[in-house]
């Protein structure tokens, strides 16, 4: 029997874990390298998942791969990749070297830094929070409270923060924040039935199956109000409540609103190290700084460098179920590549 081929996976989020588990079952040796002390990626921080409010822990429990051919390395951030004699060498800061016959990138997402959008007041005004902050509060089983310690009577949820915005250099749509906004509006309304919730959107991009049903539920059962207009700026009142300026574009009138809290649906960006990973090989980033596919339609999981593949949201923002699909299709591409090389 020939020696088992070795595949290195960079990133131990759900994409990396699922691809790793498929590939070991196919008979490969797999090493997953994760920069944090824990695998699971962003899912570790979320409270419940759209569109069915299932728990991230359930997803994670199903995909924790256990296989003698699978090695997990924690606390290691891969900084560069080199191709040498048909194999790949990986390096971290401490000169860890790892060889692999094929490489799978699953570096995932990073969340837009909301303080860059200064006019929205994140980091300046104490009652402005982000969608990630809300997930953490919710996950900890806490009630949403203002900084003064009261349950908010009115919360405004702001769409497209750091997405679709030339001013921050992100022209693209982050795709999952609209539905996250609907999910969180419902969560707030369940948590604080007395609280009025407003979503300020420009387009509601509820593309997935069941997403529109959730929108309907938000309106019908929870009286969430959707206002078509993008937030222009926020200012703080003396009592630390907030004033919003937007246009109600369906009325064609400027609108001022008072709110006790503002929740910013921050956009999703590619992981920061990706740029370094593109040095010394043919990997490329696309115009949004995600990994560029060899072909948008047919080879979404193949990179511009032969032998390097991509899985999950390092290709573009995606939901959990799409990420898992992407991981499985990436595993097929890796397998195809290694079997063809064999012949």
């Amino acid at each position: 029997m020939t020696k088992k081929k070795h595949i290195a996976i960079i990133g131990g989020g759900i994409a990396g874990l699922e691809a790793g588990s498929v590939l070991t079952r196919q008979g490969y040796k797999v090493t997953i390298i994760e920069k944090e002390n824990k695998t699971g990626g962003l899912l570790n921080h979320w409270s419940s998942l759209f569109p069915d409010f299932s728990l991230p822990g359930e997803v994670l429990a199903r995909i924790q791969p256990e296989n003698p051919d699978l090695t997990l390395i924690h606390n290691t951030c891969i900084e560069s990749i080199k191709k040498e004699n048909g194999r790949f060498e990986l390096f971290d800061k401490r000169h860890l070297k790892l060889y692999a016959d094929a490489l799978l990138l699953a570096t995932g997402l990073s969340v837009f830094d909301a303080s860059l959008k200064e006019e929205y007041g994140y980091g300046l005004f104490i009652n402005v929070i982000t969608s990630s902050d809300f997930e953490r509060i919710h996950k900890a089983g806490q009630k949403l409270l203002t900084a003064q310690g009261d349950p908010p009577k009115r919360v405004a949820i702001i769409h497209c923060v750091g997405s679709r915005d030339a001013k921050v250099g992100n022209g693209y749509c982050s795709k999952v924040c609209c539905i996250t906004g609907v999910k969180q509006a419902i969560a707030i309304s369940r948590m604080l039935p007395e609280c009025e919730v407003f979503n300020f959107y420009m387009d509601l991009r509820l593309y997935g199956s069941k997403y529109d049903a959730l929108y309907l539920e938000a309106q019908k059962r929870h009286q969430i109000q959707f206002i078509r207009g993008r937030l222009s700026e926020v200012s703080e009142n003396q009592d630390q409540s907030l004033q919003l300026k937007a246009e109600d574009t369906l009325q064609g009138r400027p609108l001022r609103m008072q709110a006790d809290m503002i929740l910013l649906l921050t956009g999703l960006e590619a992981a920061r190290q990706n740029e370094n990973l593109c040095k010394n090989n043919h990997l490329e980033l696309d115009e949004n700084r995600f990994f560029k596919s060899e072909n948008m339609q047919y080879h979404r999981n193949c990179s511009r460098q032969e032998g390097i593949f991509m899985a999950g949201s390092c290709i573009c923002p995606m939901s959990v179920n799409e990420t898992l699909d992407s991981a499985r299709s990436a595993a097929i591409e890796v397998d195809n590549y290694l079997t063809q090389k064999e012949r």
Binding site: C160, D165, A166, G229, R230, E233, E247, T249, P254
Partner: protein
């Protein structure tokens, strides 16, 4: 006559101001003019973007385009890097050039602005100069200004300015050479042509309104008076 759409496109500023609008409303929300008037920069951008002759023609003859205060707050915020303020500038120019401006009350006031701020600029090198804000023509300034105006030499001296004199300092006299340069810039950049256009179209409007002297020539004193007392329609 060129289509207005083409006339707008001929102004290089349109390229800078107009990328593509996605109707987000951020410009209107931040716009100080929208707070006071029936004014919506977003819909102006959308009308220009539509390329529809009729809609644009309507803008050129409307009060709306004269409500913008040119503060450019919209420029810093637009997520598509449009600048409604610049687009409005281009609309204003085409309105002045085609004479469409005389069809709206705020547009007609171009004549007053030209005769005051425009004339000041060429004469003094300042948009507004204390000596130009005389008492007869500016009753709105009230009794305090009347006193300041009458004692302006001493008042400006007390304030450390250098009113109308050679040398450095606030409100100093602008050197004749500099004023000549300014006049050349005005001429070369198309200012003179617009000036004449505003003058001609305003005179025609005066005739249309019957504000004429005994020979049937437009009487611009009457016209000025008419403009100052015209009722706001909004």
């Amino acid at each position: 006559m060129k289509m207005v759409v083409q006339q707008l496109a001929d102004d290089v500023r349109l390229k800078e101001g107009m990328n593509a609008c996605m109707n987000c409303g951020i410009c209107t929300a931040v716009c100080p003019a929208a707070e006071y008037f029936e004014y919506d920069p977003r819909s102006i951008v959308v009308a220009v973007q539509s390329g529809n002759e009729e809609k644009i023609q309507q803008l050129l003859t409307s009060d709306t385009i004269w409500m913008c205060g040119q503060c450019m707050s919209c420029k810093t915020r637009c997520p598509r890097s449009n600048c409604p303020g610049i687009i409005i500038n281009v609309l204003r120019k085409v309105s002045q050039a085609t004479g469409a401006f005389v069809q709206s009350r705020l547009g007609r006031q171009q004549y007053l602005i030209m005769k005051t701020i425009g004339a000041n600029l060429l004469r003094y090198g300042y948009c507004i100069h204390p000596s130009a804000v005389d008492i007869q023509n500016h009753p709105e300034q009230g009794p305090v200004w009347e006193w300041v105006y009458s004692n302006r030499e001493e008042v400006y001296e007390r304030l450390g300015a250098n009113l109308d004199r050679e040398g450095p300092g606030a409100m100093r006299k602008i050197a004749t050479n500099d004023l000549l340069e300014l006049a050349v810039i005005f001429e070369q950049s198309g200012g003179t042509v617009l000036w004449q256009s505003i003058e001609t179209h305003s005179k025609n409007k005066a005739i249309e309104l019957g504000l004429v002297d005994s020979q049937g020539n437009p009487c611009m004193d009457l016209y000025t008076n008419y403009l100052l007392n015209e009722d706001p329609e909004f």
